[in-house]
């Protein structure tokens, strides 16, 4: 039934926990059940086998005991050989008169009574001595029916060819004793050794109490039956008294007469052991139901089954728990993955165990965390990039700057300084072209420096001698690259604060190759120094914090510097960026550090791959 159900379903489509449970059942419960059943069956069989070998031997011993007793009885007739008087009477063949014959009869009967009935043998209930024409008898109790002797003597009843005593069973005779007492008749041919003639036949009727006493000594559980039967199956003794005198109709069917076999003829299988007496031909049989034989085993079997079921239940529960332990986190994992699939990364697979499931859960958790982090990173980088570009764009086309420049140009036109106007317009055009001309993030240092120079030239036109500047390009500006618009915001700041507080502001820009302690190699360093008012130490700290902070600040001072720093860090990592040194009242120096970017290829790479660069080295982020 179970198998059919299993077959109806397809094993492959089962849940993992079901599979684990079925596998457990197949691997443990089923083999152990089969093993148990086989060993129980074999054990039962071996008990029967052992009993079957043991019992016939016991019966044989009982048979030998009975035979020995019977031999003692069989030797009793020989007692008459010692009485020459009796022998000489038995030798007589004819008598002169009746009284002589009756006297001899009296003598012999008297002798038989003395010797056998009143002798030491309470089991002898009758003795008969038959000669061809006489019968002597003496019995302990009344009897009816034909006396033995004459008939057997005349018919030449098959005597044992060796002249041994032979047994006659009651069913072969019609002699009945008082109370229907069961008996055996022992027949022995008496020989006149000297004259080599037969003297006659002696019959001893023996009651069966001695058989009972021998069999009574055998261990005999109540469930067992024991009986003694003659060669025709007539039961002469039975543990069940009522069956004495009956017959065992199956005797002829018995496969062995010395040994044991299992009989399936009755309601229940029985183990029957039999042993046949060689000399006297009777058969002792012992029969016990195999259930009774294995009764104790059955008790242990039941105990074992109960224990087995208990253990099976316990281990099944354990296996279910185990299976669930394995499958539940996997199920949760799959549902969490669905969440992740839908975009929810704020999931946590809780796992406390240190096994593979815990390992899996931890790996999953850290994977999700990493994904979340990367997403966040890219998200902010993108936003900042866009903002920076937006700011730069705003700076490039600052209408205020254009307005101021145009006003300056207008003043120059009024003063008719044509040459100056032309120069200013040229510079202005170049600046606008630089701003609009190309949208790549990296430009040649030469161009960036030119742009800041243009810016400073324009400021100088506007403010005259109040603005002074000096630019020293100490690297190969045509070959090396830099991010766009990193100098202008710094210079703009310097001019703005410088013009507010001092009469003339002087700005020095230097571009050098320097060894960088943070990057561990040669960097490009831009130094923008001014002689402005400087920054008070507490404000400087605040400014630096603003620059390095991740948050986006709008409209406050330092925004330009922060933007530049953030863009460099985003592109090259935390070891690069912007540094501010200032002495209050003594000027400010801004240092911008970037890597050496030589070829156009690497410039291209930085133009497109800044995001990847950050993905690879997330910890390089400054601050």
């Amino acid at each position: 039934m179970i198998f059919e159900r299993i077959r109806r379903l397809r094993f492959r489509s089962f849940r993992l926990s079901t599979k684990l449970m079925i596998t457990y059942l197949l691997l443990t419960v089923v083999p152990i059940s089969i093993l148990g059943a086989i060993s129980y069956y074999q054990y039962r069989k071996s008990i029967e086998q052992q009993f079957g070998e043991h019992m016939p031997r016991t019966l044989q011993l009982a048979n030998m005991a009975i035979e020995k007793r019977m031999d003692e009885f069989a030797s009793l007739p020989d007692l008459i050989y010692s009485s020459s008087e009796i022998i000489s009477i038995l030798r007589k063949e004819d008598y002169g008169n009746q009284s002589e014959k009756l006297q001899d009869e009296f003598i012999v009967n008297n002798y038989l009574t003395r010797t056998y009935i009143n002798g030491n043998n309470p089991d002898i209930i009758g003795v008969f001595m038959a000669t061809p024409d006489r019968l002597f008898a003496s019995t302990r109790m009344n009897y009816a029916g034909t006396e033995p002797g004459q008939r057997h003597f005349d018919l030449g009843h098959p005597l044992d060819e060796n002249g041994n005593a032979k047994l006659l069973f009651p069913n072969e005779l019609d002699l009945r004793f008082e109370n229907g007492r069961p008996y055996l008749l022992l027949m022995k041919q008496m020989t006149d050794f000297d004259n080599r003639r037969s003297l006659g036949t002696m019959f001893l009727a023996i009651r069966l109490d001695f058989i009972e006493s021998v069999l009574g000594e055998l261990e005999n559980p109540e469930a067992a039956e024991m009986w003694v039967m003659d060669r025709e199956g007539a039961i002469i003794y039975h543990t069940d008294q009522t069956k004495i005198g009956g017959t065992d109709p199956r005797l002829g069917e018995y496969p062995v007469l010395n040994g044991s076999f299992k009989s399936f003829t009755g309601n229940e299988p029985r183990v029957v052991s039999v042993n046949q007496s060689d000399r006297y031909q009777w058969v002792i049989a012992h029969s016990i139901s195999s259930a009774a034989l294995t009764e104790r085993t059955d008790f242990y079997r039941n105990v074992t089954i109960v224990v087995f079921i208990v253990f099976a239940i316990i281990t099944s529960v354990l296996s279910v728990i185990l299976a669930l332990n394995v499958s539940r986190p996997i199920k949760r994992l799959s549902s969490l993955m669905k969440h992740v699939e839908l975009g929810n990364f704020s999931v946590d697979l809780k796992a406390n165990s240190r096994d593979e499931i815990g390992l899996l859960a931890r790996s999953f958790n850290s994977m999700i965390a990493k994904i979340r982090e990367l997403i966040q990173q890219n998200y902010y980088i993108e936003i900042r990039q866009k903002e920076a570009e937006l700011y730069a764009l705003q700076t490039q086309i600052n209408p205020h700057f254009i307005y101021n420049t145009l006003e300056t140009i207008g003043m120059a036109v009024e003063e008719e300084e044509t040459e100056q106007v032309v120069h200013m317009v040229t510079v202005m055009g170049r600046m606008l072209r630089y701003s609009l001309g190309n949208d790549s993030r990296l430009v040649r240092i030469e161009d960036e420096v030119q742009h800041v120079r243009d810016y400073l030239v324009m400021q100088k036109y506007r403010f005259g001698s109040r603005v002074d500047f000096d630019i020293a390009l100490n690297v190969d500006g045509s070959r090396l690259h830099t991010p766009k618009f990193i100098l202008q915001p710094v210079v703009e700041n310097s001019i703005k604060y410088g013009l507010e507080s001092v009469q003339g502001v002087r700005i020095a820009v230097a571009v050098n190759r320097e060894f960088g302690a943070a990057s561990g190699k040669q960097d490009i360093v831009f130094r923008i120094r001014d002689n402005g008012p400087g920054i008070a130490p507490d404000r400087l700290a605040g400014l630096l914090a603003t620059i390095r902070s991740n948050s986006l600040v709008h409209g406050k001072s330092g925004v330009g510097l922060k933007n530049v720093h953030a863009r460099i860090v985003m592109m090259f990592g935390g070891e690069y960026g912007l540094q501010v040194d200032s002495i209050h009242g003594g000027g400010t120096e801004v240092i911008i550090r970037i890597p050496v970017i030589e070829s156009t290829e690497s410039a291209q790479e930085f133009n497109q791959g800044s995001e990847r660069h950050h993905a690879i080295n997330p910890n390089d982020r400054g601050g």
């Binding site: 079957g52 070998e53 399936f264």
Partner: protein
């Protein structure tokens, strides 16, 4: 995989089921007969046993012959009963030599001489013939065992006693023996003398007359004894020809009742003499029984069984064994009252 598993489980269950189901009404667990039957077979070869008496033609040995042939019939053996014409060792040797030429398995000899027969018995042994003696022994190296009818001491003393009862323990007596070389006769005679010396000082052994188991010689010597010892009180016949010859001589001399006759002889020979009072007591055993016993024990020996003390030999009774001598039983006394019960 699951299907393979299921198949395996089914196979196991089927095997179990078939093992459980009985194949018939009976299933043998153990058979003792199987173990026994193997060793119980031995060939039923018919043995040939040669029984040699001291001489042929004596009632005593004829009775023994009857017993031997009765045993031959009942025990299923071949018996050759052959003896010399006279109770003479040389004649007996010739008979034995003839028998050795025939295909016999066992030789049972009633020896006329304990020493002279030894070489020929040795030859028989060398021809793979078992040798036993009965009735009269040889020296013990000549045979496996000796079947004696009675204990010689018991018999010798008893013979002396029967004479003493008859003569009133006094007077002269003579012994008529068979051959002076026959071992059994000499031993009995020895015990007769011992008994007389111990208990009967008033009796005197005057002569021992040998007759070589010949009726003629025995009669002659009996007559001579009566003549040469007119005051003879009794005669003991030490072999079966003695008492009949003595009885005849006493009767003819008219000395019935005056000269008592006792001794060893068969009831058939002595019935009349017992009844008419010439002979007082005759002692013997059943020679038939002895013949039967000889053949029965001979067959047992061929089957590999030596006689043992207290052994019950069927149709013979219990026998005693002293050393290598089998004793059949006790001597029987025949008087005029019971002699008719016996027919040998």
């Amino acid at each position: 995989m699951a299907r393979v598993w299921l198949a395996a489980v089914f196979v196991v269950l089927l095997t179990l089921a078939s093992a459980c189901s009985p194949t018939g009404d009976y299933q043998i667990l153990y058979d003792q007969d199987e173990e026994r039957s193997a060793k119980e077979r031995h060939p039923d070869r018919q043995y040939t046993i040669a029984v040699v008496p001291k001489r042929e033609g004596l009632d005593y040995f004829e009775a023994a012959k009857d017993g031997a042939f009765e045993a031959a019939r009942e025990l299923g053996v071949n018996v050759l009963f052959r003896g010399p014409e006279t109770a003479d060792a040389d004649a007996q040797i010739r008979v034995i030599e003839e028998l050795i030429e025939q295909d016999i398995d066992l030789l049972a000899v009633s020896s006329n001489d304990p020493k002279k027969l030894l070489p020929v018995l040795k030859r028989a042994s060398d021809n793979n013939i078992a040798v036993i003696t009965w009735d009269s022994d040889t020296d013990e190296e000549g045979r496996a065992f000796f079947i004696n009818m009675v204990d010689p001491e018991t018999l010798g003393r008893h013979l002396m006693d029967t004479l003493a009862w008859s003569t009133g323990e006094r007077g002269k007596f003579a012994i008529m023996t068979g051959s002076l070389s026959a071992a059994n006769l000499n031993e009995w005679m020895h015990w007769i003398k011992v008994q007389q010396q111990e208990y009967y000082p008033n009796m005197e052994l005057v002569e021992i007359a040998a007759n070589n188991d010949s009726y003629e010689e025995a009669y002659a010597s009996a007559v001579r004894l009566l003549e040469s010892h007119p005051d003879l009180a009794g005669i003991i016949g030490n072999s079966s020809v003695g008492p009949p010859s003595a009885a005849k001589a006493v009767k003819e001399a008219g000395k019935q009742g005056e000269v008592k006759v006792v001794g060893l002889s068969t009831p058939n020979l002595m019935r009349d003499a017992l009844h008419d009072g010439t002979v007082q007591v005759i002692t013997l055993w059943s020679p038939k029984r002895l013949g039967y016993l000889t053949v029965a024990l001979g067959k047992n020996l061929l089957d590999g069984t030596l006689p043992y003390d207290g052994q019950f030999v069927n149709k013979v009774g219990n026998v005693r064994v002293k050393g290598d001598m089998v004793i059949m039983g006790e001597p029987l006394d025949f008087t005029k009252d019971n002699v008719d019960q016996y027919d040998f």
